[in-house]
Amino acid sequence: MGFSGKRLATVAGSMIGILLLQSTLLYNVRFFGARPDLVLAMVGSIALLRGWSEGLLWGVFGGLAQDFVTGSIPGSHALAKSIIGFTLGLLEGKVFRENAFLPSLALFIGALVEGIIFFLAAGVFGQIKWSFVFALRMAILPAAVATTIFAPLVYRLCNRIYDPPRFGSL
């Protein structure tokens, strides 16, 4: 393992790019009434591919970026995403890189838990007025489904960043 400067810049740039796209031209892209959380899909994918340390690092980074760009209380998305990044990172090596189903399933569960952690974290500081059941119906569950739809695509993008194809080699 190890962090190379070029790779750090690539992942950070991709994450910021995804966030910018989501807050501008992809804003009205909805599935089952919910917007996918592509930053979470990226954090989860990196965690599954690279382990808990990178999952934690990019969870904090992506979450903080999301907190600063959006109307959330700073730290709320970061907390939820770092915990999910860390936890999914513990599964590193237990899911096949070539198989899209298991990462998608892991990301679906991760998105559900991330929603619940965000609900609790932001709720403690008075930033959520919804009841848990309403939040589950309106935000957590639909967002998890929408995120999972994009998960294979983002997972492949991350796989490509960390393991680019080598042309000319056998």
Binding site: L19, L20, L21, Q22, S23, T24, L25, L26, Y27, N28, G33, A34, R35, D37, W52, S53, L56, V60, G63, A65, Q66, D67, F68, V69, T70, G71, S72, I73, P74, G75, S76, H77, A78, L79, S82, I83, F86, F118, A121, A122, F125, G126, Q127, I128, K129, W130, A135, M138, A139, P142, A143
Partner: protein, 274 residues
């Protein structure tokens, strides 16, 4: 895995959790003032978001133009005849407008949107999460925007400024679950509080008395209570009236007058003209 490495792993997670909780706690205490880091990030990203939006719109319209070129000739003919008709209508509208201005003065109606200093701003980003309904605009403190400034369009109220930095601001939309606007029925004069987060894009007018006579289809306007929103601005239209649990009061579902999902430009109320 060695015990020490495992402990280190969970220690790191605990440190991150504590630090982020601390950050949230500090941010919650600061309330609506953006701290310097958040303000810096917003000021750096706002122009980038503006460029992304502009490019997207330009590329989109170019592609659309190419796709529609075969319809353009027929449309040109139709538009020529429409133009002649519209010119005639324009004259009528100018007369009606002048009459409206005169009648308003005559009736001494309460202050409306034209009696405020307005600042045009462009929407540069939206909150992509499913939790909140906020948007970023490209005007901030330097242009006179303040926390609490009311944001409107020619159709009605959009929300109020929640956070502000030098060159951008975050607007809390009336459909956000954290929003609360003093509101009343335009005809019934039943007073309540309009909050967001009822369903996708629908608001909820709560704290209506059991005797409220508000009806489906009635326009809901700001009541002026609370001192943030000027009185009489259009908020939306009632789509359903129901009784609260245990029959203690009523609530109404309200469709915002403004299409909050497709906003591109807004007006920020800076204060009264005088």
């Amino acid at each position: 895995m060695p015990e020490q490495a495992r402990n280190r792993k969970y220690l790191l997670l605990a440190v991150a959790t504590v630090l982020l909780t601390l950050l949230m706690s500090i941010a919650a205490k600061h309330g609506e003032n953006i701290d310097s880091t958040e303000g810096f990030v917003r000021d750096v990203l706002a122009p980038v978001q503006k460029v992304v939006l502009t490019l997207t719109n330009k590329v989109g319209s170019a592609v659309q133009s190419i796709a529609e070129i075969r319809y353009l000739r027929a449309e040109n003919e139709r538009l020529k005849s429409e133009l002649a008709e519209l010119k005639a209508r324009e004259n009528v509208l100018i007369n009606v407008w002048n009459e409206n201005v005169r009648l308003r003065k005559l009736l001494d109606l309460p202050p409306e949107i034209t009696e405020f200093n307005l600042l045009a701003a462009r929407v540069v980003a939206r909150d992509p999460s499913n939790w909140y309904e906020t948007m970023s605009i490209d005007k901030g403190e330097l242009a006179g925007v303040q926390v609490g400034s009311v944001v409107v369009t020619n159709v009605g109220v959009v929300g109020r400024v929640n956070k502000v930095s030098a060159t951008s601001a975050e607007v809390l939309l009336i459909s956000d679950q954290r929003s609360a606007v003093g509101a009343m029925g335009q005809i019934s004069r039943d007073v309540g509080v309009l909050g967001g987060g009822d369903a996708y894009g629908i608001c909820r007018l709560i704290y209506l008395p059991r005797t409220a006579t508000i009806r489906t289809g009635e326009t809901v306007v700001t009541s002026g209570l609370g001192g943030v929103f000027p009185k009489g601005l259009v908020l939306g239209r009632v789509v359903e009236v129901s009784t609260e649990d245990y029959g203690l009061g009523k609530f109404a579902r309200v469709q915002p007058a403004v299409d909050l999902d497709h906003l591109e430009e807004v007006l920020v109320i800076l204060g009264p003209k005088n």
